[in-house]
Symmetry: C2
Subunit: 109 residues, 2 copies
DNA sequence: CTGAATCCAGAACGATACTG
DNA sequence: CAGTATCGTTCTGGATTCAG
């Protein structure tokens, strides 16, 4: 843990609030296991460096597993840990709220 | 809305992921109405400028109301909009997850 | 009391090129 | 294929000062 938190929600926000972390976690929820390149395809606008960094941070926080196969060419698979799976309900709620937000905005246009 | 989103969760993250926004929303859930100075006291580590900015952004996104009383000295009250209140379940879940995370870490020390 | 204005440091994010 | 390294930009948040 990184610092003093005045409210428990800060912990979750610290862990989830990278620019791409939410989407990555959502995709891992749906697909169970994804290779680096597959995630990259699902997030067309993220740079390789940034994606690597976000994945490393999620790994360091214990939300995802990173499995490296000692092959050539390399193969790396990512999946949620049990711990990361405990965020499932939260992520789903966040998606739902975002979806209804988008729908409302589209109604007014 | 600010840009193209590839996944609805990005909308929610955009709106909630300021450094202090989650905590502010949580406090407004509990207290209904809070004056600027009261929020400041609840977040001892935030600067005035940053707090003002975060509140303005939450207002622009339609999550909170800002009510100015034309008095001297000034009085400004903040409260959740109906729309912001729709985040209640999400914020509670995020708090719960953060709380259990903290407890787990404390067990191992 | 609330907040605007300015200035600034550091972090976050991206583009590009290179590697086992 | 899945990175690392480097560089540069943009964004965020904080300190400080001033104002109605």
């Amino acid at each position: 843990m990184r610092k003093d938190y005045s409210h428990p929600i800060e912990v979750t926000m610290d862990v989830v609030c990278g620019k791409w972390k939410g989407v990555i976690l959502c995709h891992l929820q749906q697909s169970e296991v994804l290779r680096f390149g597959e995630i990259k395809k699902l997030l067309p606008n993220v740079s390789q460096k940034t994606l690597t960094l976000q994945l490393r941070e999620l790994e360091a926080d214990g939300l995802i597993d990173r499995r490296v196969y000692p092959e050539v060419p390399p193969k790396v698979e990512y999946s949620l840990t049990d711990y990361g799976r405990e965020l499932e309900a939260t992520l789903n709620l966040m998606s739902d709220w975002g979806k209804s937000h988008v729908e409302k905005v589209e109604l007014n246009s």
